[in-house]
């Protein structure tokens, strides 16, 4: 299991009280359809950066519309 995917799951449950399974992540559902709004999304991003000590590109983030795309982008840091 990838380090970054585990980090997303942990932060989603700890910070947002949202349980993200691999099935949900891989479904490609939009953030809002899994209960993640704009503020949740930025909290997720900031917390992942903090937890993994990485910095994500603003331009790349502009194109991310669902949790799978975020997980795939983060996987580049595994």
């Amino acid at each position: 299991m990838s380090k970054t995917r585990n980090a997303i799951k942990k932060i989603a449950i700890d910070r947002l009280s949202i349980e993200l399974t691999d099935e949900i992540i891989d479904s490609g559902k939009a953030f809002k359809d899994i209960g993640v709004d704009s503020l949740d999304a930025i909290e997720l991003v900031v917390s992942v950066e903090d937890e993994l000590d990485i910095e994500l590109s603003d331009e790349r983030l502009d194109d991310i519309e669902n949790i799978k795309q975020l997980a795939d982008y983060l996987a580049e840091f595994d």
């Binding site: 910070r15 009280s17 809002k32 709004d37 704009s38 503020l39 949740d40 999304a41 930025i42 909290e43 991003v45 900031v46 917390s47 950066e49 903090d50 603003d58 983030l61 502009d62």
Partner: protein, 307 residues
């Protein structure tokens, strides 16, 4: 007081709550004496923590709880109120003047409570003359220390700046210069005019109006007025903008709120029949002394000089 004009006042039990954002005034104490303060009464006791917890437990749905004061860090158990918000699975932002956040240990403490989002008032930006004229305290050094501490702990950062005519009309540009200098690239800058509620230093007729705020931001932030105005009725994140606000990113095409630099211009002027900013807003509520929820501005006006 013009209570007869406030036609939309009502209270809801926590179970009936329909507000997305709820202000929790956990203390009325303050360590500043700002000239613009909508709740200048310092005699109200601190909010009861257990009653607050009960309130949170009964709220219908997940809400953004805005921990506010007067100055919320003056409540010695501020972190416990924050922990309670997360315990009941709500969201939380702390609205503060930042004096206590100049101490790294205090920022560590609120970070440990689970908090990740802070609204820091920066009326004077980094200019002590402005702070003295608006907030009666030369506190720029402490504000900048707070900013640095928040950046170190990677907080999501909102800043708030009231534009006072004849004092800090250059603040939008000064904010950008400060953030460049401090390498703060992710921030939501909230720019507003003076609200004539409680204690204030600018009367309605002399206040900077919304269009002037747009002009000041355009001139100083390297965007056009047309660009800013194009966001007036834009639907962002599935929600329409608030009727008295314009939210926009400084970098065109930026879609991630609080990532990069964003600006929210808000009209706090009370130049309308109700004498409150944004009458009939259904977005922001306030916890009343009886632990019900009331519309924020209506409740402030009804209790002006009191709660």
């Amino acid at each position: 007081m013009h209570v007869e004009k406030i036609v939309n006042y009502y209270e809801q039990s926590p179970e009936e709550n329909t507000f997305m954002d709820i202000m929790a005034d956990i203390t009325h104490k303050c360590n500043m004496t700002c000239k613009n303060c909508y709740i200048p009464n310092r005699d109200v006791p601190d909010m009861d923590l257990e009653k607050f917890r009960d309130f949170l437990s009964r709220l219908d749905g997940r809400c953004m709880i805005r921990i506010v004061g007067a100055e919320p860090t003056m409540n010695p158990r501020c972190d416990d109120y924050i922990k309670a918000v997360f315990e009941f699975e709500h969201r939380c932002i702390l609205l503060t003047n930042g004096l206590r956040l100049a101490h790294k240990s205090y920022v560590d403490k609120i970070h440990d409570s689970g908090l990740r989002h802070v609204y820091l008032s920066l009326n004077g930006v980094d200019n002590d003359d402005w702070y003295e004229a608006i907030d009666e305290l030369r506190c720029a050094e402490k504000k900048i220390s707070a900013l640095r501490n928040l950046k170190k702990r990677k907080f999501i950062l909102d800043t708030g700046t009231i534009i006072v005519p004849g004092v800090n009309e250059d603040a939008p540009g000064a904010l950008l210069e400060l953030f460049d200098k401090e390498n703060i690239n992710n921030v939501l800058m909230r720019i507003k005019n003076v609200g004539q509620l409680g204690r204030y230093q600018t009367e309605v007729d002399d206040n900077v109006k919304l269009n002037q705020l747009v002009k000041l931001c355009a001139e100083q932030m390297d965007v056009s007025e047309d660009y800013i105005n194009s966001f007036r009725d834009a639907k962002l994140y599935g929600m329409y903008q608030e009727s008295n606000s314009i939210l926009f990113p400084l970098r065109e095409g930026n879609k991630v709120l609080n990532r990069g630099r964003w600006v929210k211009i808000t009209n706090w002027d009370t130049d309308n029949e109700s004498g409150i900013p944004d009458p009939n807003s259904q977005r922001r509520g306030r916890i009343t002394e009886n632990f019900t929820v009331a519309p924020l501005y209506e409740h402030i006006k009804m209790n002006e000089g009191g709660y």
